[in-house]
């Protein structure tokens, strides 16, 4: 059941063309949120009031900061041409919100081809509230738990296997050192260095923006943790060969060969062949 709904919601969140899509989503969204509220509201007082308060706080934040693009009820807004102005967030799950808002990608400064990582606008509580609100709209991937993001229990062998997964699935876009790479039309695969384990896993789970989804069904949570372990191991390793020159491969190496190597050696050549100081008038020197 969970898989099925996730599939439907994921399909809905993908790009739409039908003019009936928006109202349909709106109805589904309203039903889902209403239903969820109905299911949760009358339950056990202590927990649920807490949850309900968080969701309410999230809803308020959402209305102020997100609804101008994603719609008042997160149903998404279409452009005149039928494209997505802001996609529907119903069924994207808490993980997507935690990733997008927690890494500062959302709210976007302006609509563009890609949301860039920046300083988060919201604090942790607010992100949690937003995530709880969006999660309440429809089932989707949850934020990974502490245990899931902790990679300290993995053996070296498992970390090495993570490296294999990384080179097979990730390096094509994110580069061998996780420094990022170019995508068509001005988009970019962002660098993976300095990103928390939680956000790495969330990105794989939810496939933000152009990134494909790597669902647990194929690339299991353990596989994902192995990848994270490999990345963290790389971050903890020293630069064995000196300064890394950006870790973007032969292009920067070539640049340094010319600037530092040829530049420096031509400078040395100029010094070697330059005239030393001379005494102009012999009479003065004595």
């Amino acid at each position: 059941m969970r898989l099925l709904t996730r599939k439907i919601s994921a399909r809905l969140s993908a790009r739409r063309r039908s003019r009936f899509a928006a109202p349909a989503v709106l109805i589904v969204g309203l039903l889902a949120s209403g239903g969820l509220y109905a299911a949760l509201a009358p339950a056990n007082a202590d927990n649920s009031t807490d949850d309900a308060a968080t969701i309410a706080k999230g809803r308020a934040l959402f209305a102020v900061s997100c609804s101008s693009c994603h719609g008042l009820n997160a149903e998404g807004i279409l452009t005149e041409k039928g494209g997505n102005y802001g996609p529907s967030l119903i069924g994207v799950g808490a993980a997507a919100v935690d990733f997008q808002v927690g890494t500062g990608r959302m709210p976007m400064a302006q609509p563009g081809s890609q949301a860039a990582r920046k300083r988060p606008v919201f604090n942790d509580d607010e992100v949690a509230a937003l995530a709880a609100y969006v999660a309440s709209l429809g089932p989707g991937p949850a934020i990974p738990t502490k245990a899931e993001t902790d990679t300290s229990d993995l053996s070296n062998e498992e970390m090495v296997q993570g490296g294999e997964f990384f080179r097979t699935n990730c390096t094509a876009c994110h580069n061998f050192a996780g420094k990022g790479g170019a995508l068509p039309k001005g988009k970019q695969a962002p660098p993976l260095t300095g990103v928390s384990a939680k956000h790495l896993i969330e990105a794989m789970l939810t496939g933000p923006q152009q990134m494909p989804v790597f669902s647990d069904g194929v690339l299991s949570m353990k596989d994902k943790r192995e990848i994270v372990a490999y990345l963290k191991k790389n971050e903890d390793s020293p630069d064995y060969g000196g300064f890394s020159l950006g870790g973007i491969g032969p292009v920067s190496e070539g640049m340094f060969a010319w600037l530092v190597g040829i530049g420096g050696l031509v400078g040395a050549g100029i010094w070697i062949t330059s005239q030393t100081a001379r005494i102009k008038k012999k009479g003065n020197a004595a």
Partner: protein, 343 residues
Amino acid sequence: MSAHDDHTPAVIEEPIANPGLPEHLPRPTDVDEAAAKRAERQVATLFGLSSVFAVLFCVAYFTLNIGDDPTVFLGLGASTVGLGACLGAALMCIGIGAIQWSRKLMSDHEIVEYRHPAASSEEDRAEAVASLMTGIEDSGIGRRPLVRNSLLGAMGFLGLPAIVALRDLGPLPGDKLAHTVWKKGMQVVQDVDGARIKPSDMEVGQLVNAEPAVFFPEGDQEAEYEGTALLQAKAKAAVILVRMNPDDLRNKRSANWGVEGILCFSKICTHVGCPISLWEQQTHHLLCPCHQSTFDLADAGKVVFGPAGRHLPQLPLAVDEEGYLIATSDFHEPVGPSYWERG
């Protein structure tokens, strides 16, 4: 111009005559003994420093660890940095010292040396040509064309063994490039761990880097492909699975080769053969990181940008009794870069 053929152009000393070498001016070290002593000390200090760095290199070699537990300095591998810095400094000091020595202390009088034309003298050349002619005449090569021509022929035929002997550099291609290990019923499994895939495991927007199941023997099964054979098979058989919204697929035939919007394409670029898996889930474009050929997977792998000349080959999919994704045949066309007899 023709008047000076084969000779050095001499007349450039107009409109101003060559004033001749300028007067030599002494350096401070030439006239001031104290300055010369100072320069000498400077050079000797540099040479001395070089020895110090050479010794430091040895110290670094034995004290800075590599291997399991490398010594780290400012987040850098201390051994490489230390050895490089010491070696570089030792060499630099010798170099700078030697050059200071030549600049400050060695004689700096410019010397004039006269050139000679590259050609030999007329007499020498005439003599050489005459000797050559005598030799050729003696051999009778001009008078006996039969000898000359048969020798030329023999030399030409010696080329054959030279070429033929290289025949065993490799086998002939035959039709090997036209086939891969895919065949009807072979499961499509995830690369690295060989996990089998059900359509329901994949979400819309999902990408799986996949391989034929034959590369991942189960249990104690003998591996069919190992080592070089495995790499050769992988180099053609690697595929990607993507799941798109079936409504987004613009090519009917291509969509029919998939299962519920899951399509399988060759991972080998049709340009020069890089493996491609840089897939944008919203535009459905697949970009090659080597030369940026871009293929539209929603439109049967058509080329939409870049230097590739052909669409990406698609592998027809089905689901077996257990519900796992399988291929229904090999690729219907050769995968990877073009070649002459590809058709």
